[in-house]
């Protein structure tokens, strides 16, 4: 799953997600990707969020809606992502999830759970000549 957020030169924000879902799913199954607030979410007054992971579980928690609301309530992006992941882990300890959060100023952070490897995210902005990739440990 790719979940991507963009801020243009004027500070206007947008977000989106594209995925082919889970392998060998029951035909007709839809995951979290196209669900507003689950696969991604953005409120340009506050910030944006993108997500990947166990979609059948994640879409029950609307983690990106939760993360953006966390920003609105004063958390920084990492705290906002961590809280959203923790809400899922409390109910589903084995859930694989990765949440990336960016606020309206471009500050960013992430949290993850349940990956066999390491969850990563990528960003590029301002005058950066190349994209940076950040590794995120499981909580």
């Amino acid at each position: 799953t790719i979940s991507l957020m963009a801020i243009d030169a004027a500070g206007i924000m947008a977000a989106g997600t594209s995925t082919n879902g889970a392998s060998f799913k029951v035909p007709g199954r839809v995951g979290d990707g196209p669900i507003t607030g689950s696969g991604s979410y953005v409120d340009g007054d506050v910030g944006a969020c993108g997500a990947t992971g166990d979609g059948d579980i994640m879409m029950r928690f609307l983690p990106c809606y939760q993360a953006v609301e966390n920003l609105r309530r004063g958390m920084n992006p990492e705290e906002a992502a961590y809280d959203a992941v923790l809400r899922m882990v409390r109910k589903y300890p084995a859930v694989a999830s990765g949440i990336v959060v960016v606020d309206k100023d471009g500050e960013h952070g992430a949290a993850a759970s349940g990956w066999g490897g390491t969850f990563t995210y990528a960003f590029r902005g301002g005058l950066m000549n190349a994209t940076n990739v950040v590794g995120v440990p499981n909580i």
Binding site: D8, T17, S18, N20, A22, T36, I57, T120, A122
Partner: protein, 189 residues
């Protein structure tokens, strides 16, 4: 914050091409944040990124790839999405069309495909030789393991279907364990 314009997305590796495409598009003054999201996701769909985006990946039990996508405008809070999209490669483009050309939020399945065709998208087969090989291994080599069926006969953890539902009794000691399992998905979105 590295400053504006800025692009940030899940995953590194092959997904970095999407980051770069969206960022470089934003350096042009005529490209909006929505455009950049669509451009970045489209690059991932065309490149199939790590196999979890675009055609040919994550086949269902019948070996068909279906696509899910959503795009959201941070100013208007409007979003457009497609779910279980069949036979159309550019899912994020169709999601953008839902946003731009309807007042709906989510279209699904074959009728989302028809909407896409009506809006100029090309109907194509999303299955590849790699998809077919993977499906054959899953079905014949791995006896349809893992899968997402439960409470069915024959036992889904041991074999392939077709499956029929078992009668459930909420007094059964296993009943609530099945509703709130500790298990993760067999694969992820």
């Amino acid at each position: 914050s590295p400053g504006w314009p800025m692009v940030i997305n899940t995953w590194g590796g092959p997904f970095v091409n999407a980051t770069d495409a969206a960022y470089e598009a934003l350096l042009r003054r005529d490209v909006s944040a929505l455009d950049a999201v669509e451009i970045g996701c489209t690059v991932c769909e065309e490149n199939q990124c790590d196999g979890s985006v675009g055609f040919g990946g994550s086949p269902d039990e019948n070996c068909e790839t279906t696509l899910d996508a959503m795009i959201m405008d941070g100013v208007t809070m409007k979003s457009g999405a497609v779910a279980g999209l069949r036979r159309i490669k550019n899912a994020i483009g169709v999601a953008r069309a839902v946003l731009e050309y309807t007042s709906h939020t989510l279209l699904a399945g074959d009728l989302a495909t028809q909407f896409a065709i009506d809006n100029g998208f090309q109907e194509e087969n999303l299955t590849t030789d790699a998809t077919l090989a993977r499906c054959a291994t899953w079905r014949e080599g791995n006896n349809c393991q893992p899968n997402y069926r439960q409470n069915v006969s024959p036992d889904a953890s041991a074999g392939c279907g077709p499956y029929t539902p078992l009668a459930l009794d909420s007094s059964s000691p296993d009943y609530f364990g099945l509703i709130a399992p500790d298990a993760a998905q067999a694969s992820h979105d």
